[in-house]
Symmetry: C2
């Protein structure tokens, strides 16, 4: 159960830096984190473009301003579920989400 330990590390605050395999981070975990980061960034981008406040988005999601802030900060305690709900809450389509995910890969191909 090495995976378990990694998860713990990840949650403990990632640090991430430049999203590499700075520790023994496996390929699959790297992809997962990158995806999360990309989607979180997408939320902020979309929200600002629409000039919606965090509080307003929170209202739409039945959530709170503080949680939205954490979503955008890609806080380790935020689930993908919530991030995705946020994107859809901002009117994103599946195609939009797909685009964000595909770009996640490219942006870190370094």
């Amino acid at each position: 159960m090495k995976k378990q330990k990694k998860q713990r590390l990840e949650r403990a605050g990632w640090v991430v830096g430049d999203t590499g395999d700075f520790l023994g981070l496996s390929e699959q975990e790297r992809r997962f984190i990158e995806t999360k980061l990309a989607l979180a960034a997408g939320v902020r981008r979309r929200r600002k473009l629409q000039r919606v406040t965090q509080a307003e988005l929170a209202r739409r999601l039945g959530s709170s301003q503080s949680r939205v802030a954490k979503i955008e900060a890609a806080d380790a305690t935020v689930s993908l579920d919530l991030i995705l709900r946020s994107l859809f809450g901002l009117g994103a389509t599946s195609a939009d989400v797909a685009r964000l995910i595909r770009q996640a890969e490219r942006s870190s191909a370094a």
Copy 2:
């Protein structure tokens, strides 16, 4: 907080049927569920194509056979996080995931 109530309903066992707005399901929630279903289906598809058993995939994820079964059944107690991890655990790339998500929209455009 109407959203709250909907979430409850959703979790209580979706039923879903044909993924429509059978109740007041908002557009954003419909998209979210469809995405989840599409990705879950993607896991099964990929796994079978690679002739990997649920038990083996579970091992790779540090999870259990029963949970993998639930993932593929799109059980309400399974998070997107776990589904995505599964896909990546099966070697899917961001592009693969993006493709699955985009298709989710089409397949229910009814």
